[in-house]
Amino acid sequence: MSIMQEDTQQDKPQFSASAMKQVEEIFSRYPDERRASALMPVLHLAQSEFGGWLSRPALDYVAEVVGVAPIRCYEVATFYTMYNLKPVGKYHVQVCTNIACWLCDSDNVVKVLEDKVQAKMGGTTQDNRFTLSEVECLGACINAPMMQVNDDYYENLTADRVAEIIDRLP
């Protein structure tokens, strides 16, 4: 399981009481005998609860909470790109470089970002503040170019706006 990381920080992950409430709500969306369907939403929840990524112990914990075999959980976590199996910075900046954004000069967005935060696409800044990723179409093509920072979309980007958005992040 080399693509998954062991991590001391996430040695014994555990949902808080309020997260556990959310888990119950997630379970209620599916018939009782179809609990495995809750795996994806619970993984999303775990990722946001445990610092933006999923370590091997976190995956084991999710498997236990949902009641599926750990291998099922690894399979799913490795298949979907949104589950981060490595730590990411406080702000995960994802730039779409697919066709509509590329036509509207996403190359420049990439360049401005890399210069601005001093990291390459795929990398994380030294201070762990930013992780930059290049991603496929995010479904906002009429407002190209665009990027996503954590859960938020930023659309109709220009070089100036990109710099401003980065500067304004708390």
Partner: protein, 424 residues
């Protein structure tokens, strides 16, 4: 053709159009109430007569799809809305969700009633976090107002609806990949047949429709299938949302009747091509999977399923990606090939290996290291993928490559001969 009929976007300009109150004041859920007083056969019949074809890409007639659901009640049935919106260029469903979520929910109530589904899911792409929240809120409101739950609209009909978020996998937009994903697995498509109408979610008969298809249903119940059938052109009835992106002055989502000339749509709705119509190089008419059409074809082609197919491409999701003369076609297609390689789920050898080869060769040509034989090699690899895989992602990877070679072979040749692109 009467123009400017708005079905999907009719109310989206109202303030707070996403709320139950504004939706209800604008006639929301009236058609659900009407449908619940009809027989299920009559509902399906109206949808059949409307002739509406699936707006998710494949263009399969919705009424016919519903009629395949077995009438007996021995197994639980399901309704799934495809809100994965993953086809590059496409961003129309997002606007329905953001501005008219109750229209979608109403369409789902009608569909669920027609096929006898007691449970439904909206499978939304994972990155649409805000959109998922809007939907959840709308579902909550519909529940509070008696349009979801045990007695929908006070009738003896039960319908539970929930949102399920994806997590970044284009292949989960494919209906059986989506079902796998909804079952909590990797989104690897299933072999068809059996089709979802027979064996779908958790083994039950399942209808899967796109957001736009389902959101069109209330208008069909309101005005009748014949009315809807008269919109648009023959075999392409109704209105359609077109996401127009790329080199136009006013990119956006536009709702128009099918059959509108592409040129009119670009010039009169999307503000025209950057630098004027004569600066147009080509248009990808139906999302990244569809073959690019060169300017000569764009002059006259109309935006309906048959006309676009006859022109050698497909209407797909209706996402038009407009490219002006500054674009290197080879580079554009190289980018798309990288996408398909990344998104192949790896189950079928022709797709898993073939999308990798297509992408490598495209990169080789693009970077000036290609040879002339590479062009035919691309076509030959394409022939060995298309139609030989479990799902249509394989074909989708081939379409842009073979289509662009057909329309812009000279650019490919220039690339291999000069080691760089024509447009500098």
């Amino acid at each position: 053709m009467s123009s400017k009929v708005q079905i999907l976007f009719k109310n989206i300009h109202k303030k707070d159009s996403h709320t139950y109150k504004v939706a209800r004041d604008g006639g929301g859920y009236k058609q659900a109430e009407k449908a619940l007083n009809m027989s299920t056969e009559d509902v399906i019949d109206e949808v059949k007569r409307a002739g509406i074809r699936g707006r998710g890409g494949a263009g399969f007639p919705a009424g016919l799809k519903w009629s395949f659901i077995p009438k007996d009640n021995s197994r639980a049935k399901y309704l799934v809305c495809n809100a994965d919106e993953g086809e590059p260029g496409t961003c129309k469903d997002r606007d329905i969700i953001r501005y008219a979520p109750h229209l979608l929910i109403e369409g789902m109530i009608i569909a669920a009633f027609a096929v006898g589904a007691e449970r439904g899911y909206i499978y939304i792409r994972g990155e649409f976090v805000k959109e998922a929240k809007i939907l959840e809120k709308a579902i909550q409101e519909a529940k509070e107002n008696g349009f979801l739950g045990d007695k929908v609209g006070g009738k003896n009909f039960r319908f539970e609806l929930a949102v399920h978020r994806g997590a970044g996998a284009y292949v989960c937009g494919e209906e059986t990949g989506l079902i796998e994903s909804l079952e909590g697995k990797k989104g690897q498509p299933r072999v068809k047949p059996p089709f979802p109408a027979n064996i779908g979610l958790w083994g039950g008969p399942t209808v899967i429709n796109n957001v736009e298809t389902l959101s069109s249903i209330p208008s069909i119940i309101e005005n009748g299938g014949d009315w809807y059938g008269k919109l648009g052109v023959e075999k392409s009835s109704g209105t359609k949302l077109f996401s127009i992106s790329g080199h136009v002055n006013k990119p956006g989502n536009y709702e128009v009747e099918l059959g509108i000339p592409m040129k009119t749509l670009i010039e009169e709705y999307a503000g025209g091509v950057r630098g004027g119509w004569d600066n147009l190089k080509g248009v990808i008419p139906g999302g990244a999977s569809s073959a690019v059409l060169p300017k000569e074809v764009c002059e006259t082609v109309t935006m309906d399923y048959d006309a676009i197919a006859k022109a050698g491409s497909m209407l797909g999701s209706g996402a038009m990606i407009v490219m002006d003369k500054s674009v290197c076609i080879v580079r554009a297609i190289e980018r798309l090939s990288r996408f398909y390689r990344h998104e192949s789920c790896g189950q079928c050898t022709p797709c898993r290996e073939g999308t990798g080869w297509l992408s490598q060769i495209m990169t080789r040509i693009e970077s000036g290291k290609g040879v002339e034989d590479d062009i035919d090699l691309l076509l030959s690899i394409g022939n060995n993928i298309a139609g030989k895989t479990i799902c249509a992602l394989g074909d989708a990877a081939v379409g842009p490559v073979s289509g662009s070679i057909k329309a812009f072979r000279d650019e490919y040749i220039y690339h291999v001969e000069h080691g760089r692109c024509m447009v500098g």
